[in-house]
């Protein structure tokens, strides 16, 4: 296995997790959660969703820490046997490349809507896939380093544009707080939890972490989820505060609309959606590459072949899946499906696995 020499540090693990979580959610979370909640209290559901994700993440970490030198693909067979384990691995691998395909397609949809009208989707997707392949071909360390470049750029630009949009922010749009009670808020929790999909990468990441850092994996999950939580809350509060509840519901990509709806004269740029789109494309790229890598790595663990083969073999698969949804509504439905699968796969399963592992006393201290 290539794990041995390819280690990442705690801070790299945090950055990978943050970059993985931040993806489509920045653009769609306000509308999706508002559709369910229908009151301005969405930020509370986002907060709850983040907390739930943290709990799930901690459970995943606890499970993985039982086998600090192994990835999920390797240790699940020790817990529940060869065949069931292999089956689980296949499920997880499929999940990862489905997510990759979903992210790629969403990126292509948004890009062709806002940046490249008339450019065929395949032309947008293919270079994206290839750059991703180029990056992951040298392993987790390069991936982590690229994420470390993208992370500060994202933070700075995001905070900048969020801060600039404060001009059209109306606190009244967020009132009343809990006007209809707690029930609507709870309705949105599931949707907002889905925006925090990402802690599952810890199933693999712990095996890649440096030996001395493995004990800090819980910290990785907590910090790695807090940062996107702050991002999401800022997004939701800003978007609803500026566009109002009704305004958000009628727009497909409310966050971009928010950026379009204000102008700051006197600066070189008056509108900032291009900035947001740039960091957003980068964030999609990070999510795409890490899931693509996770899938390829899983296949190579499962079939015991060189990872290169699977990197190439997955390209057409991801492309075909990405092209399958016929329109943007089907794409969102597709996203929902993956999300639901993730809730079962990574919400329930780790608890069961952890339980079985403890029961059978399988442990691997290495």
């Amino acid at each position: 296995m290539m794990i041995a020499q390819d280690r990442i540090t705690t801070s790299q693990a945090i950055v990978v997790l943050v970059n993985y979580i931040l993806a489509t959610g920045i653009l769609t979370l306000p509308r999706f959660s508002l559709e369910k909640v229908k009151t301005p209290d969405v930020w509370i559901s986002v907060l709850l969703g983040g907390l739930i994700a943290m709990i799930a993440g901690v459970i995943i970490v606890k499970l993985s820490q039982q086998f600090p030198e192994k990835t999920f693909y390797q240790y699940n067979q020790e817990i529940i046997g060869k065949w069931l384990g292999a089956f689980l691995s296949i499920l997880v691998i499929s999940y990862f490349f489905l997510i990759a395909a979903f992210e790629v397609r969403t990126m292509a949809e948004v890009t062709s809507l806002f940046l490249l009208e008339g450019t065929p989707t395949w032309a947008i997707i293919l270079p994206f896939l290839w750059v991703g392949l180029y990056l992951i071909s040298s392993g987790i360390n390069s991936i982590a380093r690229l994420f470390e470049i993208i992370f500060p750029i994202t933070v700075i630009i995001f905070l900048l544009v969020a801060f600039l949009s404060i001009g059209i922010f109306e606190i009244d749009n967020l009132r009343p707080v809990l006007g209809l009670g707690i029930i609507p808020v709870l309705k949105g929790v599931k949707t907002s939890t889905l925006a925090f999909l990402g802690p599952e990468i810890m199933l693999l990441l712990i095996a890649f972490m440096q030996k001395s850092d493995k004990k800090k994996a819980v910290k990785v999950v907590l910090v790695g989820l807090t940062i996107p939580l702050i991002f999401y809350i800022i997004t939701v509060v800003m978007v609803i505060g500026a566009l109002s509840v009704d305004g958000v519901l009628t727009r497909t990509w409310p966050t971009i609309e928010l950026m379009r709806s204000f102008e700051i004269p006197g600066l070189i740029f008056e509108r900032f959606e291009s900035f947001l789109l740039v960091i957003w494309i980068m964030q999609i790229f990070t999510t795409f590459t890490i899931t693509y890598f996770a899938a390829a790595f899983g296949l190579s663990c499962l079939l015991k072949k060189n990872i290169r083969i699977f990197m190439f073999a997955l390209l057409p698969v991801i492309y075909l899946i990405a092209m399958t949804p016929k329109n943007i509504n089907e794409l969102f439905k597709f996203g929902d499906m993956i999300g639901n699968a993730a809730l079962i796969l990574f919400g329930m399963l780790p608890i069961i696995l952890l339980f079985i592992a403890r029961l059978r006393g399988v442990k691997n201290e290495a």
Partner: protein, 550 residues
């Protein structure tokens, strides 16, 4: 149900595209792999041209025979001089063989020949030791020749080689050795300020073409008994001296070993300049980025040594190599440390800005003008559009014309004789700037952008790093013309993907940017006060990490 499933099966074009998605990178990957493996094969081939040579011949002590033999070896050369004379008043025949131009003629005449030809009046000397070769040789070595670097050589071939590198060979009748006197004296030039790396503040000293001068410059930098200067010979047909310098109690021994290993692996006929070494020891020769720093400044080399890096100096070139190098280093100038920290930091930030302008300005122009007019402020968009009204070309062609023109101008400026260089620069600049706009070929906005890009690229202290960025700028322009802003983002991601993969002697090329090393950031985008820079860069795994103790 079935129909629904069928309706989701994409048509054949999508399958074809999917296949393409796999095929194109697969082909590229294989081609590149082929290139890499070919290089490996080459380096694995052990070439040994010296092994097939004739068995070595030794001196016999018979003067006439030895003389004829060495004459056979090198006598056909015009610049090899043979001078026969008699040893003092003894009548022993002696020949001195030297190279005109390389050997110090004055020294030969005034000190060597004079000493040998005069009558020996020493009382210890008596007739009996004449015929006995050994005594004579010891006597000449110990009492007659005032030469510091002297050795005995039995092999005719090797002594011939020594003569060709500037030593003088002394053959004495009755002695089965040749005395090799190292009296080489190359023509050296004065130490001047390096042309390509001028500073406002800092030593006005640059390396020269003489290796011993260069090592002396390093030694002169300060008393340091731990400065190790290890020599190698490179080149198989034409051998050259090469020096690896490092500070023994600072540099990571693994790094030193790696540098030595790579130098020993070099198999090439001739090394013309340190650029050859650079290209033969770099990690990835397909990368556009220089992975070894080349510099003419001794102070820069010494600063790098103190950080735990390794320097490589080659005879015959003023350019020393420093490894490992990181991208940040290419944007630093020694002056950053000589001036106070605030101005230095600001200037350094300016350089980072200039580097990104060089890379992205023309591509962003193309992206915004041809794809996203909506994203720039309306007034600015209007004035750009108005300026572009008469321009018959798409933005890419327009930008390409100008960028290529300015590159030609730059290259021409290098080659032009010094007196007419500036004139031609002004004329060329005027023609390109004014006349092209007047003729309606390009828009004035673009001229501004191109000029800005060109000037920015020269802000980068390392000439070759500037070229790299200018080169990559064209890729960015093509991608911007294809995909607009999205293309620029893809380019950025691709560039970063490449950079994070790149390593220079095991050190990540982008460090200390990534992986995060907060300690090393004191000397990265900004240069913190020297009082705060207590440690050497951590990424180099130095033996002694503290620079200053309080």
């Amino acid at each position: 149900m079935w129909e629904k499933v069928v309706s989701y099966i994409p048509n054949w074009t999508v399958f074809m595209q999917g296949f393409l998605a796999f095929l194109i990178p697969y082909i590229i990957f294989n081609v590149f792999n082929q290139l890499k493996s070919e290089k490996k094969k080459e380096s694995q081939k052990e070439t040994n041209p010296n092994s097939s040579q004739a068995p070595s011949e030794h001196y016999t002590g018979d003067y006439t025979l030895d003389y004829e033999r060495i004459k056979q070896q090198i006598g056909h050369n015009w610049d090899v001089h043979f001078r026969e004379f008699l040893l003092g008043d003894t009548g022993v025949r002696v020949a001195i063989i030297f190279l005109d131009g390389l050997s110090d003629k004055e020294l030969i005449e005034k000190h060597i020949m004079m000493a040998l030809m005069q009558n020996f009046t020493d009382e210890k000397y008596d007739e009996s030791s004449f015929k006995n070769g050994e005594v004579l040789q010891e006597f000449i070595k110990n009492r007659i020749l005032p030469i510091s670097d002297l050795k005995e050589e039995q092999d005719i071939k090797l002594s011939a080689t020594a003569v060709l590198t500037g030593s003088a060979a002394l053959i004495i009748d009755g002695i089965s050795n040749a005395l090799i006197l190292d009296i080489a004296k190359g023509k050296s030039r004065n130490i001047e300020e390096p042309v390509s790396e001028a500073l406002v503040r800092g030593p006005r000293v640059g390396f020269t073409e003489i290796l011993s001068d260069n090592t002396a410059l390093l030694r002169k930098h300060g008393e340091n008994s731990n400065l190790f200067i290890i020599n190698f010979k490179v080149g198989q047909r034409s051998k050259k001296e090469l020096i690896v310098a490092y500070i023994e109690d600072v540099a990571d021994p693994n790094l030193v070993e790696e540098v030595k290993r790579r130098i020993q692996k070099i198999t090439i006929d001739d090394v013309a300049e340190s650029g050859y070494i650079e290209q033969l020891i770099e990690d990835n020769y397909l990368s556009p980025f220089p992975q070894v720093q080349s510099t003419e400044r001794p102070d820069r080399v010494f600063a790098a040594l103190m950080e735990g890096r390794v320097a490589i100096l080659l005879d015959g070139t003023p350019f020393a190599l420093v490894a490992p190098v990181t991208l940040g280093m290419l944007l630093q100038s020694p002056e950053d440390y000589y001036e106070r920290w605030l101005p230095s930091s600001l200037i350094r930030l300016l350089r980072y800005l200039a580097a990104s302008v060089t890379l992205f300005a023309p591509s962003l122009y193309i992206a915004f003008v041809s794809f996203h007019q909506g994203l720039i402020p309306t007034k600015l968009a209007l004035s750009i559009m108005r300026a572009r009204e008469g321009v018959p070309f798409p933005a890419l062609i327009e930008a390409l014309i100008m960028e290529v023109a300015i590159e030609i101008l730059r290259e021409a400026g290098l080659r032009l004789p010094k007196p007419i260089g500036p004139t031609m620069g002004i004329v060329g600049g005027l023609v390109i700037g004014e006349a092209a706009v007047q003729a309606g070929i390009v828009s004035p906005v673009l001229v501004i952008i191109v000029a800005l890009t060109a000037i920015s690229s020269f802000v980068i202290p390392q000439y070759n790093a500037g070229i790299t960025l200018r080169m990559l700028r064209f890729i960015a322009m093509f991608l911007a013309a294809l995909f607009g802003l999205y293309g620029v983002v893809i380019f950025f991601l691709f560039l970063c993907s490449h950079l994070v993969k790149l390593k220079s002697f095991g050190v990540p090329y982008l460090s200390p940017t990534v992986p995060y090393r907060a300690g090393d950031w004191k000397d990265f985008m900004v240069r913190m006060p020297l009082k705060m820079m207590k440690n050497r860069p951590r990424l180099l795994h130095t033996k002694d990490s503290t620079r200053r103790k309080d």
